[in-house]
């Protein structure tokens, strides 16, 4: 991760919950967004790196607007970005998104079912709209998506 890159991309921080369906959805959405939907405008930062205090990860969230994706109400991704000196431009909770897409019932953990994959895609599309809106502007306080 270069400094130049981190200055021009919205940081995406998903839940790191292992063994939880909604955590897996958050990560699948982050992959879809950063690899396929908005690869030029976003960069993925692993929550575990922030927890470990990785300097490059902390620099990325400090210098860029962040979008967090939380798998449960503990909201670890959102909390960790804030504790790392970053500002959350928008926070998403998978459960809230699922309530908008009841037809995409997520199941599975290491491998999501079709509903889970579709929910991840829907979530990625919702985040893409936010990414297009915030661009590289200075982040403001987040709202739950």
């Amino acid at each position: 991760m270069t400094e130049e890159k981190s200055q021009h991309k919205v940081v995406i921080v998903p839940c790191s919950g292992i063994g939880k369906t909604y955590g897996t959805v958050s990560r699948e959405a982050a992959y879809a967004l950063t690899e396929d939907v908005r690869p030029e405008e976003t960069q993925l930062v692993a929550l575990s790196l922030l927890v470990l205090g990785d300097e490059a990860a902390r620099a990325a969230v400090s210098a860029n607007p962040a979008v967090t994706i939380d798998g449960c109400k503990l909201a670890c991704a959102t909390k960790m970005v804030k504790e790392s000196g970053g500002k959350v431009a928008q926070d998403f909770a998978v459960l809230d998104v699922y309530r908008r897409y009841k037809q995409f019932k997520p199941q599975g953990i290491s491998e999501l079912n079709d509903g889970g994959l579709q929910l991840a895609q829907a979530l990625a599309q919702e985040i893409a709209v936010v990414v297009d809106t915030i661009g590289t502007a200075t982040p403001e306080g987040g709202q739950n998506g």
Binding site: T21, C72, K73, L95, Y98, R99, K102
Partner: protein
């Protein structure tokens, strides 16, 4: 103001409201005049996880004791709620449709599920647990779950 019994199991705290009765599943029933308000206990909502959707039988539905009154979908499970009282559904909490997370946020008050016009409360009540009895039952169940890991 509602008073609660409280117990601690591992890192979890569970409350049991003392002004109502409970069935074995953890559905509470609170007598209010001629009617009975029902909802999920704190233990049941914590064990079930964050509620995504709640589908309650419509107003006017006749229920026998133990009939399914609602289905709750959480991030972990789908659970069928058995009515702790016989009678007819008078009112469904509108939050069940728009903000079912209120079950997790305030299970004994704002998270109520429905109000039932009870047809035989005196008989139904004898089949329910009072707060201390339910507390003992739920504590045992919680300890078993913790021990299972």
């Amino acid at each position: 103001m509602t008073e609660y019994l409280e117990t601690f199991v591992d890192k979890f705290t569970f409350k049991v409201a003392t002004d109502r009765f409970y069935n074995a599943e953890g559905i509470w029933a609170k007598k209010e005049g001629q009617h009975v308000r029902i909802g999920l206990s704190d233990f049941l909502q914590q064990r079930s996880g964050d509620v995504a959707f709640a589908e309650v039988k419509p107003e006017g539905t006749a229920l026998a004791f133990g009939d399914e009154v609602a289905v709750i979908e959480t991030i972990k499970v789908n659970i069928s709620l058995s009515s702790p009282v016989s009678g007819k559904i008078l009112e469904v909490n509108p939050d069940m449709e728009t903000a079912p997370e209120v079950i997790n946020q305030d299970p004994f008050e704002k998270g109520w599920v429905a109000v039932i016009e009870a047809s035989d409360w005196e008989a139904d009540q004898t089949r329910l647990l009072d707060a201390p009895a339910y507390l003992a039952k739920m504590k045992k169940a919680a300890e078993e779950e913790v021990n299972r890991g």
